[in-house]
Symmetry: C2
Subunit: 148 residues, 2 copies
Amino acid sequence: MSDVKGAAALRATIVFNLGTLGALASDRFADRVEELGLKPKHAGLLAALDAGSATSQQELATRLGVAPSLIVVLADQLQELGAVERVRDPEDRRRQVLTLTTEGRRLLARCAEAAEAADAELTAGLTEPQRTALTRSLRTLGEQHVPR
Amino acid sequence: MSDVKGAAALRATIVFNLGTLGALASDRFADRVEELGLKPKHAGLLAALDAGSATSQQELATRLGVAPSLIVVLADQLQELGAVERVRDPEDRRRQVLTLTTEGRRLLARCAEAAEAADAELTAGLTEPQRTALTRSLRTLGEQHVPR
DNA sequence: CTGAATCATTCGAGCTTCGAACGATATGAG
DNA sequence: CTCATATCGTTCGAAGCTCGAATGATTCAG
């Protein structure tokens, strides 16, 4: 905490580097899942379904932090790929309940593979303890700041 | 490395969490610098200039990983704010040499403050050793993957 | 001197996401 | 039961951001 802001103050920040590297990581992940015909948000939706943390589109929207209207498009495309099924909730027929199909689980697994490959590439210069420490830190932050 | 991809495989990934948290961090930082009339990319440009790692717009473009045509717009706006000066390089009159003004340094300092405030908020749930470890990991990754 | 390469700039297009408006359904008050 | 209100999903148009191609000025190699 210097009185006068030094030169490299911004670049020493966590948010700044997290933003930069986050974009970089997203791009690499995006490149890989593109071969599956998916965007990162599709993977996020599949993961949320798999985690069981959300079933209706409204819940998914808040879970992923995007507009409900975007969920419509993503779900349309995933349904087109046979990855999810849309069923009206009999107890509340306004709701669309999304469920993973076998194909959806397969795609999710391949997304995970893509992410792991990107991980290996990205963290190649880190020592093993550094990598596990990073994983844990990110998880902690995620649990605290990603809408539940 | 399990044979069968387990359920939460994707969410356990570094790239996935890095992408999610990176977007989150960028948003929080963006909210704060917006009050200065800036976007995160403006801050990035100012920081690059301050670091002296790039002076011409072409260099800035590769440094920030964006199209040269975007640098034009960003520099226009920063010039409008009186944060940078554009001078033709006398040794190569194709080049525009950008330099930080006093106002530019002031703005950069306020960006740094904004980032530090966002840091404190974001990492409130981390222990001090966790935070420093995270900072170092991110810096290591940045040095390896951000274009120099 | 001439042709190729480089820099900055402009302009139009693409992609992603959002918000408003709408219909269908559910819920609560009277 | 009935009506007003709220919620869910959907469609559609608009906004923001970024890129790539085309252009003019300048430099460089031969």
